[in-house]
């Protein structure tokens, strides 16, 4: 039983109760076929904002700690979340991502690895870049702005504000099957993606 569609409606309502949400560039999400959605991470609410406003279903790489409690272990997979162990290299998370992409799904990744303490974009983890290079599918840089103001990492009280989600234009790096190919372009790709994410984040609301 997938809860994705009914929960998405509930999430959309929730989003508009806690914030004035504006989604731009929804046409940049491919109508069909695989894609990777790379987003910055300012708030615990980001996955909710993105899932509610992305026109396609997104399977999100979720930190394994979230699966510690039985309820979340039951519910997160039904919302298309799958675990990744961030305290070690997790080949299973990569396998699942590649399998989902091969099946034509969208995979969502927060390449900073953890919510930003101060709202600023943090360096992107290499694992996410390697996955994008290995998969060779369109990468959508998704800049979320304003969610830090709604609920920053250090606060427990949400405050209504304006949130902008900007789905950027797809970037296609091509498929890099061999490790040496990926490593050769890793830093350049990371810089390119960090620049694309920075452009997608609205400076007025970041």
């Amino acid at each position: 039983m997938s809860l994705y569609k009914p929960v998405k409606v509930a999430l959309w309502i929730f989003c508009h109760l806690v914030a004035r949400v504006r989604a731009r560039g929804r046409a940049n999400i491919p109508g069909k076929g695989p894609f990777i959605l790379l987003s910055n991470h300012q708030s615990i609410l980001d996955p909710i904002f993105i899932q509610a406003h992305c026109p396609r279903e997104v399977h999100s790489m979720t930190k394994s700690t979230q699966f510690a409690q039985p309820f979340f272990r039951w519910v997160i997979p039904r919302l298309h979340g799958f675990p990744t162990r961030r305290y070690k290299v997790d080949p299973q998370a990569v396998r699942i991502s590649l399998r989902l992409l091969a099946q034509g799904h969208g995979v969502g990744i927060y390449p900073e690895g953890e919510r930003s303490w101060d709202g600023a974009l943090q360096p992107l983890r290499r694992g996410a870049i390697r996955l994008a290079l290995k998969a060779g599918v369109p990468v959508i840089p998704c800049g979320i702005s304003g969610s830090y103001g709604v609920l920053p990492r250090w606060s427990r009280r949400p405050r209504r504000g304006r949130v902008t989600i900007h789905f950027g234009e797809p970037i296609v790096f091509g498929r890099h099957d061999h490790k040496a190919e990926r490593e050769a372009v890793l830093e350049r790709t990371r810089t390119l993606l960090e620049e694309a994410l920075s452009r997608a984040i609205d400076p007025e609301e970041a």
Binding site: S64, P83, R85, E114, R125
Partner: protein, 205 residues
Amino acid sequence: MALADLLYRCPECGHDPVMGVGDEARCGACGRHFGRADARGRIRVTDPDGSSRSRSAAELTRAIAGHGGPLTAASQPGGSILYRAEALMRQSTSEAPVYFRKRLLGFAESYGGSRSGVLEASDDVLRFREGDGPVFDWGLLDIRALQTSSSTVQITPRHGAMAQFRFVSDSPRRWEELICHLLSEAWLRAGRGRIVEFQPRIVVR
């Protein structure tokens, strides 16, 4: 968590620590007050004379880094580092498979019971003392990854289980920065190179 977790020392005068509850914090030395300013995540800084201004969180964290980050309170005469705080420690005991529709999605760790004690950081070791109970040591050169997860700090040693620390009255951000600094220094001293990434494993260049 609280604003004092972000602003663990005063971004204006550098005093360490800043005290506070929830979305408010106050520096005991210069008397400045910090609070959540508006829905854009900016922080209102109020001087003792009542004048106030709003600054972004990123500006304030850069100012803390400019004061030396977590190091002043941890530095001892002679240049060595020693810092301690009350913490709850849990270790991962196993990794259980997560299935959905009979397909393996991945693995998630399970944790053992929580131990209450004091975590100490020094130039070469992280040590957790559980009251009168056992002492756990992790040599900095044996730590393979460091990360924060919500309000906790997690370390992955080369041998043994991942350990997670939740601080009773100290900032996880301070500890993240402190351990990052200590690891970087220790690895550099040992000739292993400059650490450029701490998770999912330490990468040096």
